[in-house]
Amino acid sequence: MFGFRLAAQRPPAARRIKDDVIMRFDHVYEVDPDLMQTYPQQDIPAWDTARIVDSRWDHLAWMHQHFADRVVSAGELGLPPDYLGDDAGVTPPT
């Protein structure tokens, strides 16, 4: 059993990503609060947001491992750079 003070777990200030999207934590996109007047977003302590985000990555990694022994990445296929997209992230060969 543990407790926390919500006031001590406030997320960082939001920065605007698009007209209707803000970001308080890196890589966590959130709907602009102005669009959530009818159903306001509940307060979530920062540690819980971090837990949910980390769980999401764990979940995706688990799914990959569940379905196959390994995931082939485009970067290991020996293709010309233009096949891999202009600025798309490609995992380098291991």
Partner: protein, 500 residues
């Protein structure tokens, strides 16, 4: 506890068969087994609540419950995980709800003949965790993979995300034991319904028990296919600036002839608008990302690596831009579990976020008609969004549909958000009209109302006789023959007509 809505005599007989712990009459047990994730007339919830829930663990118990239902003319509705997107597990006439979740035994893993024998309450994810040390895999992979069950997959004739490579549920279930609506037990499948995949003895009955939505019997055991566990997975997502290019590229990818091809999915412009609004993988994509094709491969390393090269070449040469490993691998992994996503939509009038349930109206359509159906479906959705203010268009996708033959036809879905809290008789009637119109477009273009969910839902079910013609009359004859008292999930699929 409130008084059971069934007679003392029926309750006592059920307890005598199953024991008191497996006969539930409390409200939570019954109300939680009323709806499925498909849109539901929440304003008429009470119309669909079962009178009693039973949880058998053996075939013999199922037989006794079904015989009791026959003798007392009590409706009985089978239910597995209740994750279906048609209404097969939703009671229309109250009665007994037979939940198979406690029939969750893995009976036999046969590594010599490559089968696994299970009860219907086994979940595929949990099954594959058990199978992993054996180096084999049961490749039935719906979007509800972590929560759906083998029995429901049979009753709905489920569709698998990786069906182009491994087949769908009807291909992967080698044989099954079925308790018929009279309580008689039969086995269907190749020959005597054992572990033989192909037989030519007499009539083929197995497929009769796939997709009946609980109207023809209850699957109590199934012999499933085992395939070698994939050594390698490859996923590639390509973006396009217009639909026509994406459509042609989708065709080229699906006709590649690669044996490891598990699926190709085409997301249209409406889907990208939705994803750009609410999906982390797409929010910051540039504006020229208007459509996407997703491709997945599974197999041995020796197969997948060269096939992946070929996929990348086709994607590139047909106008696609690779979206990168993070999007490709992350988004593909997320597709195994679409039921975990919290759902909200936007009101067109204000842009405000409201809770919405996800409804996917599906159809089976040939490749040639995809562009035209897309335009007609979105036009229908647009009219209802404007007219009623409780719907949201979440876009369409087209997913290769054929087992081992992905090139000719597609599972096509339009995803529509519904603000269920606003449902009343008027809005529900509007929604069912919308569904009827969507299904009619599929039929007009030579397709089928549904590729994977089933066509039992209000709205589209009215068009089932139109789609099936004389075959529907034969189906009614079969229903009456197997279920002379109309106790097995009565009211579904217009089968009441069989008793008129």
């Amino acid at each position: 506890m409130s008084a059971p809505p069934i007679s003392d005599a029926l309750y006592d007989e059920l307890v005598g068969i199953l024991g008191a712990d497996n006969v539930l009459v409390d409200k939570p047990a019954r109300y939680n087994r009323t709806r499925v994730p498909a849109p539901f007339p929440v304003h008429r919830w009470d119309d669909h609540v079962p009178d009693v829930v039973v949880l058998p663990t053996t075939t013999d118990e199922v037989v006794e419950v079904v015989k009791l239902a026959n003798r007392t003319r009590t409706p009985i509705v089978p239910r597995a995980a209740g994750t279906g997107l048609a209404d097969g597990a939703v009671p229309l006439r109250h009665g007994i709800l037979l939940d198979v979740k406690r029939m969750n035994r893995i009976r036999d893993i046969d590594m010599t003949d490559r089968t696994v024998t299970v009860q219907p309450g086994v979940n595929m994810l949990k099954l594959n965790e058990v199978l992993q040390p054996y180096g084999v895999f049961y490749p039935d992979n719906p979007a509800s993979y972590p929560c759906s069950m083998v029995g429901g997959r049979i009753g709905t004739s489920g569709w698998s995300l990786i069906g182009a490579r491994y087949g769908h549920t009807k291909d992967l279930v080698i044989s099954l034991e079925v308790v018929l609506p009279t309580g008689k037990v039969i086995r269907v499948g190749g020959g005597a319904g054992g572990k033989v995949r192909k037989s030519s003895t007499a009539l083929t009955l197995k497929e009769l028990f796939f997709g009946h939505q609980g109207t023809l019997g209850i699957a109590t055991e199934a012999v499933l296919e085992l395939v070698p566990r994939p050594e390698a997975e490859f996923a590639a997502f390509f973006s396009y600036s217009d639909y026509d290019t994406a459509y042609r590229s989708c065709g080229a990818l699906s006709k590649s002839g690669l044996a490891t091809l598990a699926g190709v999915v085409l997301f249209d412009e409406w889907k990208l608008d939705y994803l750009r609004r609410d999906d982390e993988a797409y929010i910051e994509q540039p504006s020229d990302v208007r459509c996407v094709n997703a491709v997945a491969l599974y197999g041995t390393d020796a197969e997948v690596v060269p096939a992946a090269r070929r996929v990348m070449e086709i994607g590139h040469d047909t106008g696609g831009r690779y979206l990168g490993d993070e999007v490709s691998q992350g988004d593909w992994a997320a597709r195994h579990d679409r039921y975990a996503i919290p759902l909200h939509g936007r009101l067109r009038s204000s842009g405000q976020v409201v809770p919405m349930s996800w409804h996917c109206e599906d159809a089976a359509l040939n490749y040639s008609v995809l562009p035209q159906v897309r335009e007609e479906w979105h036009a229908i959705a647009d009219r209802y969004i404007e007219g009623y203010g409780i719907f949201d268009d979440w876009g369409m996708f087209a997913y290769t549909n054929g087992s081992h033959a992905p090139w000719g036809d597609y599972l096509v879905e339009i995803d529509i958000g519904i603000w269920e809290q606003k449902l009343d008789d008027e809005n529900w009637a509007a929604w069912t009209r919308c569904k009827t119109e969507i299904a009619a477009v599929a039929l007009k273009h030579g397709g089928s109302i549904t590729a994977c969910h089933g066509a039992t839902r209000a709205g589209e079910v009215d068009l089932v006789p139109s789609e099936l013609g004389g075959a529907f009359d034969v189906m009614k004859d079969i229903k009456r023959l197997l279920d002379p008292n109309n106790v097995m999930n009565p009211g579904k699929y217009l089968f009441d007509q069989a008793y008129e």
